[in-house]
């Protein structure tokens, strides 16, 4: 039987704003399947975002949803989680929102290891504003503000998250749709700050400037560059050139989780009273 997405979609809120060929809808469906698999209670789940195309996702989901300001999702979400630690708090957004204007909040949420899940849809571009380069746009590529090719080197979001202290880091792609829900579900179940980067596509503002003739070509690129971590173990450095690892890249169950640590602060303060 086909999965019933409608029970998680707010009535009357579709169609969404995303362009034909955009992968954000695929990610949203993955998130919905993950929430459904885990039997999350809608009233006990907050989906928090910043600004951008990907950040419009919460408006469609039938939960407690918070569409904040550009880059600030992690900081708002931290407040929600601290006030209601029992809630499931899921962040969604794009690469520009999360790693440029929101970069500071992102790394500090990783450092605190606060029990939330951040899904970053990385389409290498600022889509909503018309295709300006982001910290994830590959060097040399074209954007509306890099007409001569992007001089900036890009971020590796997963490495950034691991380096900053996140304790669960995974990567998938919009092409590998069936893997997205599994990665997100595992991330939500993890006790700590979890990051799921989904490599995505923006045919409208990125693809056409960079000589991708069709959405299919962009999806095929995602298919071609992705190498599951298990498969990569058997490959040489040469074979891995230009490839991107997918799957669960990092997991640490030993680092203390922030809301639990703060509960201990309260215990210590009350014992000393």
């Amino acid at each position: 039987m086909a999965f019933d997405y409608d029970k998680w979609i707010r009535p009357g809120k579709l169609p969404h704003i995303w362009c034909p060929g955009c992968g954000h809808g695929i990610v949203m469906k993955g998130l919905i399947r993950a929430m459904d698999t885990l039997n999350l209670k809608k009233e006990e789940t907050a989906v928090v975002s910043g600004i951008g195309c990907a950040s419009r996702l919460p408006g469609y989901i039938d939960c407690c949803t918070l569409h904040t300001a550009h880059g600030r999702a992690a900081a708002f979400a931290t407040g929600v989680k601290m006030a209601k630690p029992e809630m499931n708090v899921i962040l969604v957004g794009g690469d520009g929102d999360g790693t440029a204007i929101g970069g500071n909040h992102f790394i500090h949420a990783c450092r605190r290891n606060i029990n939330m899940t951040y899904i970053i849809m990385n389409n290498y571009i600022y889509g909503m504003t018309g295709g300006q380069f982001s910290p994830c746009t590959p060097t040399g590529h074209k954007a509306s503000t890099t007409p001569y090719g992007n001089p900036d080197p890009g971020f590796d979001i997963a490495k950034l998250a691991i380096g900053a202290g996140a304790t669960f880091v995974a990567r998938g792609t919009a092409f590998h749709a069936n893997q997205i829900d599994k990665l997100i579900a595992e991330a939500i179940q993890h006790k700590g700050f979890s990051v799921v980067e989904i490599l995505d596509d923006c045919p409208t503002t990125y693809g056409r400037r960079n000589k991708y003739k069709s959405v299919i070509e962009m999806m095929n690129r995602l298919k071609d560059v992705a190498v599951p971590v298990k498969a990569a173990e058997k490959m040489t450095a040469e074979q891995l050139q230009g490839k991107v690892l997918t799957g669960v890249l990092y997991k640490d169950d030993t680092k203390p989780e922030y809301t639990a640590e703060y509960a201990k602060v309260i215990e210590r303060a009350q014992a000393a009273k």
Partner: protein, 377 residues
């Protein structure tokens, strides 16, 4: 039983006022000269099961309190000039999304880093015009340590009652001086709770104006699910660009404050009955003004003081009435003329408005004010 008394600094009193008001979540970032608020609350909040967070920056602190408030907490942050500038976008978010919160801002010299340890009153315009767009503004300017304690409590009450950010802005002198504070008993000062929804979750709309200009606010995680955005929104919380809805919602947000000015605006009238010269003052400057008025009276000059306690909304009605009966208004302030602009607006050219403006990090002394009082003919 005698009341509890303490010798406190303004910032410490502010922290204790927040606790009396029921604050259970505070997020801040270290900044001179307001950091003592963080220090006291980091020690006191966990004792009552509340939470203190030192965030990665000023913006994050503002974001965290907004998030926590939406999840049902009573929230506060503290900062000073540069931090206030950084928080401004999200103060606007709090205004449009109608999220109760208290922003305690100690006024130091500016712009930019300015004089971090020097007093100033140059953030009063930022309190109203700092964030972009039209929005309601409430800003309280206490003049003593006791008043800082009480005004922080009132700020929480106003934030919850009108579902909007409220600022408390002592100048650095008030924030750092030490005075005797008499703590009220529990229940002595009424604490205003947030208006909660009375409808079942399926009927709830976060901006439902059938309950008045201040719609009830549910908390995330309390059985209600709803959407919050910084976009212009409809009553159900979802974004819209429909002209009539946007216009009506923007006007309602302003009306929350404008229609309740008499409930919000507070002031002190000192020797005004027969006054021919009125000194309008706020914050620590009013202490010099009171001294100057006393000396002027001893010298036979009919001077009085109108002390602004609530800077925003501005006490238009009271200033207009004064302008109709006095010969001149004297305004001492630690900026280059901010309150004076408002006074000129209210005086409408009927009486001269004489300013004493200092931005050198030194307080305005009574002699300066007395000399200006004598200039009024």
């Amino acid at each position: 039983m005698s009341k509890k008394v303490a010798f406190l600094q303004g910032n410490e009193a502010a922290a204790h006022g927040a606790l009396y008001a029921g604050c259970d979540f505070f997020a801040g970032y270290p900044i001179t000269p307001s950091t003592e608020v963080s220090e006291v609350l980091s020690a006191e909040l966990p004792k009552i099961g509340g939470k203190f967070m030192q965030m990665e920056d000023e913006i994050a602190a503002m974001a965290a309190i907004l998030g926590a408030s939406l999840a049902g907490a009573k929230v506060c942050t503290s900062t000073s000039g540069p931090g206030l500038s950084l928080k401004q976008e999200l103060i606007g978010y709090g205004c449009i999304a109608e999220i109760p919160c208290v922003v305690y801002n100690v006024m130091r010299g500016g712009p930019s880093t300015g004089m971090p340890t020097g007093p100033s009153q140059s953030d009063v315009m930022s309190a109203k015009w700092g964030t972009h767009g039209d929005h309601p503004a409430i800003c309280l300017t206490p003049a003593s340590v006791q008043e800082t304690y009480e005004e922080v409590i009132r700020a929480f009450n106003l934030a919850e009652k009108y579902r909007t950010p409220v600022m408390v802005m002592p100048d650095e002198i008030v924030a750092h001086m030490r005075e005797r504070v008499v703590f009220p008993e529990k229940g002595e000062i009424a604490i205003v709770p947030r208006k909660s929804p009375t409808v079942p979750p399926e009927q709830y709309k976060p901006y439902d104006t059938s309950f008045g200009d201040v719609p009830p606010l549910a908390a995330f995680g309390s059985g209600y699910k709803f959407h919050v955005t910084g976009l212009n929104k409809m009553q159900d919380g979802f974004p819209t660009t429909k002209a009539d809805v946007v216009q009506a919602e923007e006007e309602r947000q302003i009306r929350k404050v404008d229609a309740n000015i008499d409930d919000i605006v507070t002031f002190e009238e000192y020797m005004l009955d027969d006054a021919e010269v009125v000194v309008v003052a706020y914050g620590s400057t009013s202490r010099s003004a009171r001294f100057a008025v006393n000396v002027a009276r001893e010298q036979g000059i009919k001077a009085g003081m109108f002390r602004i306690k609530t800077f925003w909304p501005f006490p238009d009605k009271q200033i207009k009435a004064l302008a109709a009966k006095v010969k001149g208004i004297v305004i001492p302030e630690m900026n280059l003329g901010m309150c004076s602009l408002e006074l000129e607006r209210c005086a409408q050219g009927k009486v001269p408005v004489l300013g004493i403006f200092r931005v050198d990090g030194e307080p305005i002394n009574p002699d300066q004010i007395l000399a200006k009082i004598k200039e009024v003919k």
